[in-house]
């Protein structure tokens, strides 16, 4: 009983409104592009050019060789300090993140048993950065030691040599997982937050009452919202993928069509949540707050977008199972960085499909063409 004419009318109205309403533009275009730029260019968890204080108590060939090894790497930006007091002061003031301290007997004791001539002090406040710094520093030290031993004709064997292989994101760039994950956040913004806002606005302004008094059916009203915002969300997704691949150089190993497919499915889930929120709230302010708390924040924090789900407490891990963004983020990471891995795609897609059916079904069930 769906009339093409009515659908066209409703959809045209929706597009005109999106185009003329600054808030739709803000959520659908400004915020996604802003987020993409911040995550693509700005935010990074990788440590690079970390300012580090070098305190060398007695300069000699050994210390020069070792500090040279530090300077060669991108990770650190070493700054020489005359003594520990100054270096510690600099660390307290936040000028340096770590201090590498080579004692006066560094050159002498280095080949002596039990010598521990080098000390690394890191600022532990940002635990993540601290861990990365000490990891890098240990790596530099081990490599240098071996080379130095060889250079000085000393035989030296480290009992176990670690050979690490990183799969999928071999350069270990955080951008490569942050930008794809961001697509889930952007689509949540358009699908759930924007939809919740525009539908509740119709209730608030009384336009819903006028619509309902016409022979339009509830399914037509719902489809008249879903289709335009679906297209808008798809546009946001295409824009994000294009920026990710061409601007930020994130590799897309999987199939684009598969990505398009799962993104569409996720968009349906988000739209379902947005419509549900607006049907319950019927007020822009309440709808926006609920949408923030139940869709936006979880997509940011509980989806595995930034924080690893496996490390969360059991209870929180359990909660993440009801967060649709979780499944979508897993799909995005895999499709972008690993490829078409069916054993990941099938279960996650299935979960999204079930959620889409659930939310859409619920929306259709509770939406009545009545005001009470």
């Amino acid at each position: 009983m769906i009339s093409g004419m009515r659908m066209r009318g409703l959809m045209r109205k929706e597009f005109l409104q999106i185009w003329r309403d600054p808030s739709s533009i803000a959520i659908a275009f400004v915020l996604p592009v802003l987020l993409l730029f911040i995550f693509g260019y700005g935010v990074s968890l990788d440590a690079k050019h970390v300012p580090i204080a070098l305190v060398v108590e007695q300069q000699d060939a050994a210390t020069a060789s070792f500090t040279g090894a530090f300077r060669k790497l991108d990770y650190f930006a070493p700054l020489p300090f005359a003594n520990m007091r100054d270096a510690e002061e600099a660390m307290r003031e936040g000028e340096v993140e770590a201090i590498l301290h080579l004692k006066s007997d560094f050159g002498r004791t280095i080949f002596q048993p039990g010598g521990a001539p080098a000390q690394l002090i890191v600022n532990g406040v940002n635990a993540n950065t601290a861990r990365l710094i000490s990891g890098y520093a240990t790596g530099v030290w081990a490599t240098w030691l071996q080379q130095y031993a060889a250079l000085n004709a000393r035989s030296f064997n480290v009992p176990v040599m670690v050979q690490s292989r990183v799969w999928f994101n071999s350069e270990l760039k955080s951008r490569n997982y942050l930008v794809p994950g961001l697509i889930a956040v952007i689509m949540t913004l358009i699908g759930a937050l924007l939809t919740a806002l525009v539908v509740s606005r119709e209730w608030e302004r009384g336009t819903m009452e006028s619509l309902m008094a016409t022979p339009v059916s509830m399914s037509e009203i719902l489809l008249g919202k879903i289709i335009p915002y679906f297209l808008l969300g798809t546009g946001g997704m295409l824009l994000s993928v294009a920026m990710a691949v061409w601007l930020f150089g994130v590799p897309l190993h999987g199939s684009f069509f598969l990505l398009f497919g799962v993104a569409s499915l996720f968009l349906l889930v988000a739209l379902g949540m947005g419509l549900l929120i607006s049907t319950v709230a019927k007020n822009q302010f309440v709808a926006s707050q609920i949408a923030l708390v139940v869709t936006f924040l979880p997509a940011f924090l509980l989806s595995g977008f930034i924080f690893e789900i496996a490390s969360m407490p059991q209870v929180v891990q359990f909660i993440t199972h009801i967060i649709p963004a979780r499944y979508f983020v897993a799909l995005l990471h895999t499709l972008f960085m690993a490829g078409n891995i069916w054993s990941v795609i099938v279960p996650n897609t299935l979960a999204l499909a079930i959620m889409a059916l659930f939310f859409m079904g619920l929306v259709w069930r509770i939406s009545r063409k009545r005001l009470d």
Binding site: R6, R12, T207, S210, K369
Partner: protein, 577 residues
């Protein structure tokens, strides 16, 4: 055959009941309402605020499900088959849901699509509707940028886009100026005559009720009566009198008369006071009638309405005059000269001038968009003037010290109160910002509770109040600090006739005590209550003077001028021509 079809009622409801949960209370909006709406005629739905008018409209439109009873519209069961009914229904809600960021044309297109109007039929229908509503020059303007009257006309055009069999209009003329109102009704009546449409409308303007073919009178969710307006008013035959005297001011006379126990209602009309007597009573032979000129008058529907709802009752003048502090200094309180205001290219107010004397009730009238709100806002200091001079109590409120504002009281059409705050909290807040404290503050709040009868609702959030109570509270808040100038911006908009009467009684009392009142309104009978008024159109003053003088000016145009409304329309039309 045709006879029988015409006789078929367009809507039938039997034993309809509907209740809502508002806050914690259960409100019975409708109780056992049964009625039939005749086809091919205009039926009015009349009743005070909260009578259940909107609920009834929504039930007919299939937007609500009744708790009890049956509703059939156009022979269909609305409860079971709302979509069928909605195909031949036009509905214009109270706040017509126009898409404000869509243009006039786009709004029409949307509703044409929703009603599945064939594309071939559209150009003709659009042209007709645009011609009727006079919106043709504005088809590309956004609906949000139209004036109030034009918005209502566009709403009507949208509801009429498919020429419905039944048209439901919920207060279509609220906040609309008399000219636009008249145009709106012309469109509606033309539809009834030409297309045989049936119309149900609700309104707060009782003169509109007078013109319809059938009336439903609703009160507290119950149907008090149904019939032709004449049937209602004929019951009042012999109870209506016009009373006047030569010397005393009509306002004082009205105050005096309304307190008499045999008088049900007293209203200022022209130079006289119109009395509605209690059943079986007559002014002849009453003590107070001595020396008054008394004429019997023809009853109107309004009289019947007031009588059926039991009248308003008199508000006793205050023992202590509210404005006792007003120093008797004669001379104009408000002076406006050569005042202009531009918004970009557009000149909203074009070099106007007038003055208001102490203790005067001064009316500022005009069509929607005539510049009266702009003038009003400039006077209150809410908007700077582009050029010209204006003084209120000798100062321009815009740059006068803040303390000068404590001499004015302000009440806007939206009854701007803090919705989540209770009545008491609202009063406490406004008294404090006006610098009242301690005993003085307590005394004034007690005064407000006493005078405005707010005791029962002291702890109710002001959002939950009925419109009439909101208006009372807004007025109480505006009077707490005993201002000697009162600015009232459409203070009775959307308020039912009883609440309006009560409101004007209070205004009259204040004016008698020397308070200067500046008021804007769309109710032309209220213009009669003013001492003097100006009528504005397109930023300029068309006429000014006493109501009588304005009627005379209007009569000079050659139109038949019986009421203020006729005068207003005649003047506006002369200007437009």
């Amino acid at each position: 055959m045709t006879e029988i079809i015409v006789a078929e009622p367009v809507a039938v409801f039997t034993g309809v009941g509907k209740s809502f949960v508002a806050g914690k209370r259960r409100v019975e909006a409708l109780r056992g309402v049964s009625a039939r709406l005749r086809a091919g005629c205009v039926t009015g739905l009349i009743g005070p605020d909260g009578a259940g008018k909107t609920t009834l409209m929504r039930l007919l439109a299939g937007l609500l499900k009744p708790d009890a009873g049956e509703i059939h519209v156009l022979g269909q069961d609305v409860i079971g088959e709302p979509l069928r009914v909605q195909q031949s229904l036009g509905y214009m809600p109270q706040r017509f849901g126009l898409y404000e960021d869509l243009s006039v044309q786009e709004n029409l297109d949307l509703y044409a699509d929703l009603q599945c109007v064939a594309h071939a039929a559209r150009p003709e229908r659009y042209a007709e509707l645009m011609h009727m509503t006079g919106l043709a020059p504005f088809t590309h303007r956004l609906a949000g940028q139209l004036s109030g009257g034009m918005k209502q006309k566009l709403g009507l055009a949208c509801a009429l886009v498919r020429s419905p069999k039944l048209l439901l209009l919920d207060e279509p003329t609220a906040g609309v100026d008399p000219v636009s109102r008249r145009e709106l009704w012309e469109i509606v009546y033309r539809q009834v005559e030409q297309a045989g449409m049936s119309v149900l409308f609700s309104t707060a303007y009782l003169d509109e009720a007078e013109r319809c073919d059938d009336l439903l009178l609703l009160h507290q969710g119950q149907l008090l009566g149904q019939g032709k307006p004449a049937e209602f008013s004929s019951r009042m035959q012999g109870r209506i009198f016009n009373v006047s005297n030569g010397s005393e001011s009509r306002r004082r006379l009205q105050q005096q008369l309304v307190q008499q126990e045999s008088v049900l209602d007293a209203l200022i009309q022209g130079e006289a006071v119109r009395l509605v007597m209690h059943e079986g009573r007559s002014p002849q032979g009453e003590v107070w009638a001595k020396g008054l000129k008394i004429e019997q008058a023809a009853p109107r529907f309004e009289d019947a309405f007031v009588a059926m709802l039991g009248g308003v009752g008199a508000i006793a003048p205050e023992a202590v005059h509210a404005a006792a502090t007003v120093t008797a200094k004669n001379g104009p309180v408000i002076e406006v000269a050569d005042l202009s205001r531009n918004f970009g290219e557009f000149q909203a107010v074009k070099s106007i001038g007038f003055h208001v004397e102490r203790g005067e009730v001064f009316g500022l009238l005009g069509a929607n968009g005539a510049g009266k709100s702009t003038t009003f806002r400039m006077l209150c200091g809410l908007l700077p003037a582009s050029s010209g001079s204006l003084t209120v109590a000798g100062m321009n409120l815009r740059d006068a010290p803040a303390s000068a504002r404590s001499r004015i009281g302000y009440m806007s059409q939206r009854f701007s109160l803090y919705g989540t705050l209770s009545v008491l909290e609202n009063l406490r807040f406004f008294s404090s910002v006006y610098g009242l404290s301690g005993k003085g503050r307590r005394a004034r709040i007690d005064w407000a509770f006493e005078r405005f009868d707010l005791h029962d609702i002291a702890d109710t959030a002001s959002d939950d109040l009925s419109l009439g109570y909101k208006q009372r509270l807004a007025m109480a808040a505006a009077l707490l600090h005993e201002p000697d100038i009162l600015f009232l911006d459409e203070p009775t908009s959307g308020v039912d006739p009883l609440a309006r009467r009560e409101f004007w009684q209070r205004i009259n009392l204040l004016a008698e005590q020397g308070v200067t009142v500046l008021v804007t309104t769309h109710f032309m009978e209220e213009a009669e209550y003013c001492d003097r008024l100006v009528i504005m159109a397109e930023g300029s003053i068309l006429a000014s003077g006493t109501p009588q003088a304005i009627k005379q000016t209007a009569a000079a145009t050659g139109e038949k001028v019986a009421t203020m409304e006729d005068a207003f329309i005649a003047l506006i039309q002369r200007e437009a021509a």
